[in-house]
């Protein structure tokens, strides 16, 4: 069965420090991968996506993610975190069987301390 795992439920990081959020997937074919962010009380916003080509993907708000096929991973990074990055982050995989659907990880909550 296809699945998406975000191993870290909660991460606390200091403002200005780097951030890395982990995502592992279990899926037979080459996946289409997404990272979304949800700020408190807000909807889901797409940060970036990977379909093919260059395995390092740039997104909005200074985020990037790297696809590693050998590790079945799609980790999200940001070199220097701002207080406004405090949010919940979701990794998702587009699953293709009879049709398309998006399967999500359980999410990682990021707290930013001053």
């Amino acid at each position: 069965a296809q699945s998406v795992t975000q191993p870290d439920i909660h991460i606390t990081v200091s403002e200005g420090a780097s951030l890395e959020l982990r995502c592992n997937y279990s899926y037979g074919a080459t996946p289409y991968l997404f990272w979304y962010v949800q700020s408190p009380g807000q909807g889901l916003q797409l940060l970036l996506k990977y379909f093919s080509g260059d395995t390092l993907v740039q997104g909005i708000k200074g985020f990037e993610a790297e696809f590693k096929r050998s590790q079945s991973s799609f980790n999200l990074r940001k070199p220097s975190v701002h207080w406004s990055d405090a949010a919940e982050y979701f990794c998702a995989v587009e699953v293709r069987s009879n049709d398309y659907k998006l399967s999500f990880g359980a999410g990682t909550t990021v707290t930013v301390r001053a």
């Binding site: 797409l46 996506k49 379909f51 979701f90 398309y100 659907k101 998006l102 359980a106």
Partner: protein, 113 residues
């Protein structure tokens, strides 16, 4: 850009009521989805639709049904609401092709009392 609109931001319903959650997209997309979001569980797929009158069960369809009579509108129905259906419900629409992606509505916070 795609706009996905959920008709209600907050709803409070009584146990046993029939509840309708409405979702509308403005790009003539074929694929639409209903998810529920609960702390620690992420987003779980309830139902999805790939065309008018076509629907498929997601991972947690029990207690729910859906309706898609027009391409732009996808409704989630709780036949007899129960307290364990208190949750945040999110609708999404899929953009195909090169611009492939999923756009989400702002969500409906449903409380069943």
């Amino acid at each position: 850009d795609v706009k996905v609109t959920q008709s209600s931001r907050y709803l409070v319903k009584r146990t046993g009521e029939k509840v309708f959650l409405e979702c509308v997209q403005d790009m003539d997309h074929e694929n639409m989805f209903w998810y529920r979001q609960d702390p620690g569980l992420g987003l779980r797929l309830i139902y999805f639709s790939y065309d008018v009158k076509m629907k498929e069960k997601g991972d947690i369809p029990e207690g729910y049904s859906v309706s898609r009579e027009k391409k732009e509108r996808f409704s989630l129905i709780l036949e007899s609401a129960s307290t364990n259906q208190t949750s945040m419900y999110l609708c999404a629409s899929r953009t195909p092709g090169i611009q492939r992606g999923y756009t989400f509505g702002s969500g409906t916070r449903l409380t069943v009392v």
